[in-house]
């Protein structure tokens, strides 16, 4: 079938070139995360400094982005991460990716570095670099408004960075449509290092399915499943993700105060139920999404979207803050300044522990409030300083690992591969700990969301305290997720849909010949190529595929999971074996041959 195109933008030379996609790569890696990884693997010089001109910044839609497949609006940012030094692939929804597809492109690749700030303006087959000097220093909301006015089209879509990305914070994100983030692994800093402020896009094309009748039939079934499923049909639309706060807290696996504890007596005060009673003003949907998990909120002086579950936890419980007002305010600041909320919260919580234990000195705070757990004032103030890289905020903007290490105590950084952990305590939920430890992009809950079987009971209930069988579950979830992330569809659909549904959608929508089995094999291929990228960049399994020492040596002090430690040592060897990797986590030649990786 006829494919969309790729744009190659050389910022050093100021050139924009259209190229066809590599059809063989589409067959082997689909698009999005998979195609982006293949492109980076083939083109990036090993050992490249992530913030140098040599790094490449890839925006990759899936072949279903911009289609009428439910939730088909996702794009992925793939690059070498300045936070982890390994592969970054950060996913986002909203409307930007779908607009890029309408303009005729599946992939954008940025190379080099512009001499002065620029933005890329794409209108269908016309694409040009324009001066963005007047926007440099502006937050993501002001930037978006100014660009929509400048291009004279309110229906255009903007992805941009804020001051955090411009100033190369290693936890900076890319924000599209003002409120959606390609959040993790510091992708915003790579954009900033290239002097690329924004990408504005407007398209007029429409999606063309490979097999329109087949797709129609497939979508009828998929929509029915999404509607009838308890999570996608009722739970997420009604409460968004925030309703998880109380569940995880009741389980005693809701990290509190930088993972020093795992249950928070005040969690109800920042729960989804509380949010619904207080600051919630409405729901939002991303492109083509029948679920609508997004939340609109308002404070007295500001409006915005979120906070989502991860943000409520990272900026809330993990910093000991239970009041919603400062959490929402800090969330808005992260979106405006362009910071990843999970890493921002994980960094402030580490700073609070460093301060309370006497390593960060009072004189370093300047006029700022004391970095004490539970202080909403400190949360808001230091989030702003971090996003603007002012005063001590400059150190915070490096992320918790480099911050804690600079004080001689890296153990207070709760990270995997230097990336901050999400909102589930791996001591009380064993499988998710495995998926954090071996995740190719550093600690991450959306590579293999084992919370689904371990906590929610989907597709079946697994005991979160047990390790047996989790390696196989982890591998299957990793593979399926890699394929979904490459298709352009939102991971949330997987509460209702299975591998066969995705294979049908990709086959009928994009003309890639897949069934359930070959879809999972494609996921395996993508995961393995990410691994090869990381190994080439110096990954050492013993050092990098592990969890912070606190989670291996300090038992949960109280609550239902009291006494528990993570036992990743029982799961990782089996996981490697199932993957066809040797005991050092290196894919064997036989496995590479099986996957067709040369």
């Amino acid at each position: 079938m006829e494919r969309l195109n790729m744009l190659r933008v050389n910022l050093t030379e100021g050139t924009v070139k259209q190229e066809p996609l590599n059809e063989e790569w589409v067959k082997q890696y689909i698009g999005g995360r998979g195609y982006g990884t293949k492109l980076l693997y083939e083109e990036l010089e090993p050992g490249t400094d992530p913030l140098s001109e040599g790094n490449k910044l890839i925006f990759a839609n899936g072949p279903l982005t911009g289609s009428n497949v439910p939730t088909g609006g996702r794009y992925m940012v793939v690059t070498k991460s300045p936070l982890t030094g390994f592969i970054a692939s950060s996913n986002s929804g909203g409307y930007w990716g779908a607009e890029l597809a309408r303009a005729g492109y599946m992939v954008l690749v940025f190379e080099g570095k512009a001499k002065k700030p620029v933005y890329l303006w794409i209108k269908d087959d016309k694409a040009e670099l324009r001066d963005a000097s007047s926007l440099w220093g502006k937050d993501t909301h002001l930037t978006t408004d100014a660009l929509l006015e400048e291009v004279g089209d309110p229906k255009a879509r903007v992805a941009c960075i804020g001051p955090a990305g411009e100033k190369l914070s290693k936890i900076a994100c890319i924000i599209n449509d003002k409120h959606r983030a390609a959040g993790r692994s510091g992708v915003g800093a790579v954009m900033g290092s290239k002097n690329l402020k924004a990408i504005v896009v407007r398209g007029s094309g429409t999606f063309k399915a490979a097999n329109p009748e087949g797709l129609k039939e497939t979508l009828r079934g998929a929509m029915q499943k999404i509607k009838e499923n308890g999570v996608t049909g009722e739970g997420l639309p009604t409460y968004g993700t925030a309703v998880l706060v109380n569940i995880l807290n009741q389980l005693g696996s809701y990290p509190f105060k930088n993972f020093q504890e795992a249950q928070n007596e005040g969690a109800e005060n920042h729960s989804g139920e509380k949010l619904a009673e207080t600051y919630l003003t409405g729901r939002t949907n991303c492109f083509a999404c029948p679920i609508g998990c997004g939340r609109e909120t308002a404070l007295d002086d500001k409006k915005g979207e979120g906070p989502e579950y991860e943000t409520l936890w990272a900026l809330g419980s993990n910093c000991g803050v239970n009041d919603l007002e400062p959490i929402i305010r800090a969330n808005y600041l992260c979106n405006e300044l362009g910071l990843d909320t999970i890493s921002a919260g994980g960094t402030i919580s580490a700073a609070m522990e460093l301060y309370e234990k006497g390593y960060i000195k009072e004189e370093e705070l300047g006029v700022g409030p004391e970095l004490r757990f539970g202080s909403g004032d400190a949360l808001v103030y230091w989030t702003e300083k971090m996003g603007k890289l002012e005063g001590l905020g400059e150190k915070l903007a490096e992320g918790s690992y480099r911050l804690s290490e600079s004080y001689g105590h890296p153990e207070f950084s709760i990270t995997v591969k230097k990336q901050e952990l999400p909102a589930y305590d791996p001591r009380g939920i064993q499988g998710i700990g495995l998926t954090y430890a071996v995740s190719n992009r550093g600690a991450c809950h959306v590579r293999g969301y084992l919370i689904s079987p371990e906590v929610l009971g989907i597709p079946e209930k697994l005991d979160p305290w047990e390790t047996e069988g989790k390696a196989q579950w982890g591998k299957t979830f990793h593979d399926l997720t890699a394929a979904i992330d490459s298709s352009g569809v939102c991971l949330f659909t997987s509460f209702a849909l299975g591998a066969d549904d995705y294979a049908d959608m990709i086959r009928n929508g994009a003309g890639i010949d897949l069934n359930a089995e070959s879809l999972l094999e494609t996921g395996d291929r993508i995961w393995t190529l990410e691994r090869l990228f990381n190994l080439r960049e110096g990954l050492d399994a013993a050092r990098d595929d592990t969890l912070p020492v606190r989670l291996l040596k300090e038992p949960i002090p109280k609550g239902p999971a009291e006494g528990k430690l993570s036992r990743i040592d029982k799961m990782i060897p089996e996981y490697y074996k199932l993957r066809g990797w040797d005991e050092k986590g290196v894919p064997t030649p036989a496995k590479l041959a099986e996957l067709g990786i040369k």
Partner: protein
């Protein structure tokens, strides 16, 4: 008496966050006691029927009931049951 907490849509159905309920020495009989107290709305929405699977997450003292005997799990006087609708997220 066992303490029962309600969350999400279940909280809206029963109209309160928490209650003390007697009359149940297993999770199953405790659910029946809750059902009797809150009547048809609770019944229709959250009780298992032949047509509809039980769409609840039930934690007894922070453990999912699936791992401690399901609806037959014994309930003691000082126990705490948390009743959640089936939800998800990430």
């Amino acid at each position: 008496m066992p303490r029962v907490s309600f969350f999400g849509i279940v909280r809206e159905i029963v109209g309160e966050k928490e209650t003390l309920i007697s009359g149940g020495d297993t999770v199953g009989s405790l659910l029946e006691a809750i059902s009797a107290k809150y009547g048809m709305r609770f019944n229709e929405k959250v009780m298992e029927t032949p047509e509809r699977k039980l769409d609840l997450i039930l934690l007894l003292n922070g453990r999912h009931i699936e791992h401690i005997g399901g609806l037959s799990a014994p309930v003691k006087e000082e126990d705490h049951l948390a009743v959640f609708p089936l939800v998800g997220g990430g």
